[in-house]
Amino acid sequence: MPTDSTSASALNERRRLAVKLRLEGRKLKDICELVDLSSPTIIAAHKQFLKGGWPAVDTKPRGRPSGERSTPQDQLETLREKAFGRPQSNVPWSYSLLQEETGPTGAGTSARTLGKHVEQWGLVAENLHRASKNDGSLSDWLAADYKSIISDSRKLDSTIYWAGMASCRTSGDGQVIKYIHAHTTKGQYYWLAGNHQTDTDRFIDFFERLANLKNRLTVIWGGHDPYLTAATSEWLKRNTNIHFYQLPKTTMATKEKKIASTAVSAANDPDSINTEPAGDPLKNAASLTHLQRLEAESIHIMREVVAAAEKPAMLYSLGKDSSVMLHLAQKAFYPAPPPFPLVHVDTGWKFKAMYDFRDQIAKETGMQLIVHKNIAGIDKGVNPFTHGSSIHTDILKTEALRQVLDKHKFDITFGGARRDEEKSRAKERILSFRTEQHRWDPKNQRPELWNLYNTKTAPGESIRAFPLSNWTELDIWQYIHLENIPVVPLYFAADRPVVLRDGTWIMVDDDRMPMNNGETPIMKRVRFRTLGCYPLTGAVESDATSVQDVIKEMLLSNSSERQGRMIDHDSSASMEKKKQEGYF
């Protein structure tokens, strides 16, 4: 390039050429090479052409009109252009080199001042060496691997560079410029910037230049992986004088810095500018556990629903999920009691232990408990034995649920369903909309973004809200364990009278259960993974008598929990069908 290539007229000529080539349909990459402009510049020039024709392509006159005395501002501009380009000598930029190469312009400026400017332009990356000391996740690596790297480098007489990549934004047009940076352990700082090179080329160019400073290098690379392409690793393999180590993935992230256009920041040692405050006292308290996050998410959903609902209610099925949900509701509205009643849809066929538990909880929480039975169905004598699980569920559960919601005009009802319960539930939304007939219209559900829930309904329409959507079975048990939440004792193993039907152990909970020919109840050590109507709920043989045991058994045995629920086995799409009919 001729030396005047940066003058305004030469630049404009190149910009116009670039636009012309672009209009001819040439590839950007080729144009970049041909006219030696960065791709964002070319795109910007092209856009300006489209807006204002050829005159708009030219850059506005820069600096002061000639003849006026040159000012520090002009000097800065020259320095800046230098710092974002490639140095003439065969080493990377450092403050001292920048001072040298800017000649008379830079001569009057101390390295210290230069450092401040370079920092202002966003060209100073985080000193990875320093940052690593404050990164707890690296302590093991620093103690072992890094120690041996240091001793090796001493033996080889090589210099250690902590290097990486970063990007910054120009203050003018805000374009993003990438650069590679390296700090020595003594704080000496080197960089090479600009978008005129591919990542690979910049990578190789930079380390070639570093190698010119001192033949043997030990590089601790904390940058992004895209830099480590085949070409770069091939090159590293050939250059045996460079010992290349990758910093283990850490919580350190390279940051893009926005550049303040004014005010030089507080004075720093120019050779070791570190823009990050050293150490973060909050680091260890920073991260919530997954259970804390799930808990907060559920509470958030409950508060949103209650703020919007005219008459909310919570379906309380007495299962472990219901127990967790109730526990979370108490947290959400503390010190007030949850501002809604508990609704129990009673088929009349639940386990005795569940009824006992229900009455005890109602007493302890002081919450209103609404128990609803489909009297008409019960009067007709509907039961799981003669009518089968399908009709039983439809009449005594689904129908009963509709009745109680209609009777009390609840507009939003909480349910304890989780997405991991079953493959088809994975797509369920947290708020599910029901028509006036309580039907779930799968084609007419609302998208859910961020934590913004749309709780609007027309009169008659209602919403089922599932605050436990993102919990898994394991999360539920871990939380029960952690928070000491009471659950129905049926979840724990005990000797119970059972009969084997269709390969499933069914507990004989009362004398309404008719015995088939040759059937006699036997005592077995069993427990239940889910709870429902006793004639429809399969027991599993187990010795798990505590929450810990239950978790242990669950983790080691591994069969999905709905296996024990007979309703799912009736027909393959049964859950889907039930839901459309209004089952929870």
């Binding site: 993003v176 992230a253 973004l449 913004l452 959507s469 871990q478």
Partner: protein, 640 residues
């Protein structure tokens, strides 16, 4: 994993102690089924042992029946539970999958890639902290890859994994991998797509290379495996902690008169008891008295926690307000530049009103201007009059009140919003607040509010002024009265300005000097203009003898709004009628400056209408005017 199994068997308490302290990462996978997305997710679930035996068993038997991998396990069948619904045309925007490793719980949002792709991906990405963009190594960068990269950056996802899959089908070629990585980097450079961390990994989801273990096929790859990368990505909640404190108030908790708590989830930052706070948009200040949870009061609450704040002072705070610390409070504004993703079949139209939910606040929003639409495939900006479903546009929006907010790039929780249709209640759009517009920047104010067209449209008429001019006694008032009556009978909204109601009120300070005459007409012109703006048909009946004055009134209105009606009567006829005896007074010299006698009347040169009272009755003149109004479209109805 074997070690974990041992730990569970031998020391479940220790296992729980470890696993109860895991953190959580939400991520999204982008790619189509052809890229091996289901296989990848299935592989992650399988490798992390998130699958139960019966799930595995049914997948194994399915694999043999309709798998694509011979007798080997087809991982895609582990997650592909949605095909039946797809056939039924059920919209599935996002399916969520869960798995655990020793370090983390993961939630994967899996978005089916088809027609509704943009809507679905944006939905899934809105809660994601990391994105896996899948590329088929055989095909390289595709249009959809660009789209994925754009949408992830639009939704502010900080970490992107470029997963170059099916490496087994390209002989694990390093060159092919490098080319794709280079191409991707160039693309993101070129379009200035900003993502904080992009990491490329060559994979074979089918064979498990670089998923949890490196395998032996790609010795040239030095980076981490997919799972170990996902385990080390910094979670957003940790990033949010370093930002200024924000608590969008969800609910005011008042169990009794002594307790007034503000419940909400800390969106970012942290707060300590004793910290001074500011409430936005009201700007009121106080100090934190207590941080209440059921598990006991806290000294300090951090981003992500659901808490209840008690303040020292009793200040008025309600749902939708945002509590900040005083040194870095949230901004407050009612006009914004935003990027909107439209999600409803009914297109978005500027001028229409929607409910806007941002944080916990709900307001009424009007889209004042679509600056441009963005083509998600080419990233070109296109001019647009409306936004169709799955389109993305940069729009200016105007709210009916101030809300507290932050720019989306600063804070996802306080800078995002959804739009809800006021009639159907559907969620019709979602967007990001890019920055607040200052009033002067909003040049589209007129288009926003109820305007003249809307007001007159409501009255089924076109507002205008009928400016009657003519000599005293020509019959201006009489005709104007009949015209107004006829219009009123048709249900039109009118107003008649004449000497009686103007000279006695608004203009009672004016005499009959030349200055006062000009001022008189100016005021009438201004009042008429306001009334036209309010949608009325205005009738004025003043002699208004001077052309210049009438021209001044005409200039205040738009071209077709000023209708000059010349009531033509020869002076002799008018003088003969002389209903108020004024001509007599003027002739006798008792009245000075009387038009037609000792002051001139400048006839209109090109009046919009001319009625001749010497040949037509007042009733007929009025009918002629009504017909002309119909012809001009001022009022609708049959033209007789």
């Amino acid at each position: 994993m074997a070690a974990t199994q041992e730990l569970i068997k031998n020391d479940i308490a220790k296992y729980l102690a470890i696993h109860e302290n895991k953190d959580m990462l939400k991520l999204i996978t982008c790619g189509s089924v052809d890229d091996g997305k289901s296989t990848l997710i299935g592989r992650l679930l399988y490798e992390s042992q998130a699958l139960t035996e019966d799930q595995l068993h049914s997948a194994e038997s399915d694999s043999k029946k309709h798998g694509t991998q011979g007798d080997a396990l087809d991982f895609a069948l582990l997650v592909d539970g949605l095909s039946a619904e797809r056939e039924q045309g059920i919209t599935i925007d996002v399916a969520y999958r869960y798995f655990n490793t020793d370090q983390r719980k993961f939630i994967i949002a899996d978005t089916p890639g088809h027609v509704q792709y943009t809507r679905n991906m944006v939905t899934g990405a809105s809660t994601a902290e990391a994105a896996i963009i899948l590329v088929d190594a055989r095909k390289g960068m595709q249009t959809q890859t660009r789209r994925h990269a754009y949408l992830t950056s639009l939704m502010g996802i900080r970490n992107v994994v470029l997963a170059i899959n099916k490496m087994d089908l390209v002989n694990y070629s390093e060159d092919i991998y490098n080319n794709i990585v280079d191409e991707f980097n160039q693309f993101t450079d070129l379009e200035q797509i900003e993502t904080e961390n992009i990491t490329a990994i060559p994979l074979s989801a089918l064979n498990g290379d670089n998923i949890t273990q490196r395998g032996t096929h790609m010795p040239w790859y030095h980076g981490s495996t997919l799972l170990s990368l996902l385990e080390t990505i910094k979670v957003d909640q940790e990033i949010a902690l370093k930002k200024p404190f924000r608590l969008p108030v969800q609910w005011v908790n008042r169990p009794n008169l002594d307790f007034r708590g503000f419940a909400g989830t800390v969106a970012s930052g942290s707060i300590n008891v004793g910290d001074p706070i500011r409430v936005q948009p009201s700007g009121k200040t106080s100090t934190v008295d207590r941080i209440v949870t059921k598990d006991g009061d806290l000294d300090r609450a951090i981003a992500g926690q659901a808490i209840t704040l008690l303040l020292k002072d009793e200040i008025d705070i309600s749902r939708g307000d945002v509590i900040s610390t005083t040194e870095t409070p949230a901004s407050s504004a009612n006009q914004f530049e935003s990027t909107i993703v439209w999600m409803n079949e009914e297109p978005m139209l500027p001028g229409r009103q929607y409910l806007l939910k941002c944080g916990t606040s709900t307001s009424t929003a009007t889209i004042t201007d679509i600056k441009h639409e963005i083509n998600v495939d080419t990233l070109e900006q296109i001019a647009a009059k409306k936004l169709e479903i799955n389109n993305i546009g940069n729009c200016n929006i105007n709210l009916d009140r101030q809300i507290a907010f932050d720019d989306y790039t600063e804070n996802r929780a306080t800078g995002s919003f959804i739009l809800v249709d006021k009639v159907t209640n559907e969620t019709v759009g979602a967007g990001t607040l890019n920055f607040a517009l200052r009033r002067s920047q909003n040049i589209h104010m007129q288009a926003v509010d109820v305007d003249k067209n809307l007001r007159s449209g409501l009255k089924a008429q076109k507002s205008c002024v009928l400016w009657f001019t003519g000599l005293s006694g020509s019959g201006k008032s009489t005709i104007a009265n009949i015209v107004e009556r006829k219009l009123a009978e048709e249900g039109r909204h009118t107003y008649l300005l004449d000497g009686d109601n103007v000279r006695h009120g608004l203009n009672k300070d004016l005499g009959f000097t030349d200055e006062d005459r000009v001022e008189n007409i100016r005021r009438i012109g201004e009042v008429a203009r306001l009334m036209v703006d309010s949608g009325l048909i205005v009738l004025t009946a003043f002699i208004s003898p001077f052309r210049a004055e009438r021209q001044m009134a005409r200039a205040l209105l738009e071209d077709d709004e000023f209708l000059e009606v010349f009531v033509e009567t020869p002076l002799a006829v008018a003088e003969q009628r002389d209903p108020k005896g004024l001509y007599k007074k003027a002739r006798s010299g008792d009245l000075k400056n009387f038009t037609g006698i000792d002051s001139p009347y400048e006839q209109p040169e090109n009046p919009e209408m001319l009625v001749d009272t010497s040949s037509l009755s007042a009733e007929q003149c009025a009918e002629q005017i009504i017909r002309a109004l119909r012809q001009r479209g001022v009022i609708s109805g049959d033209i007789e």
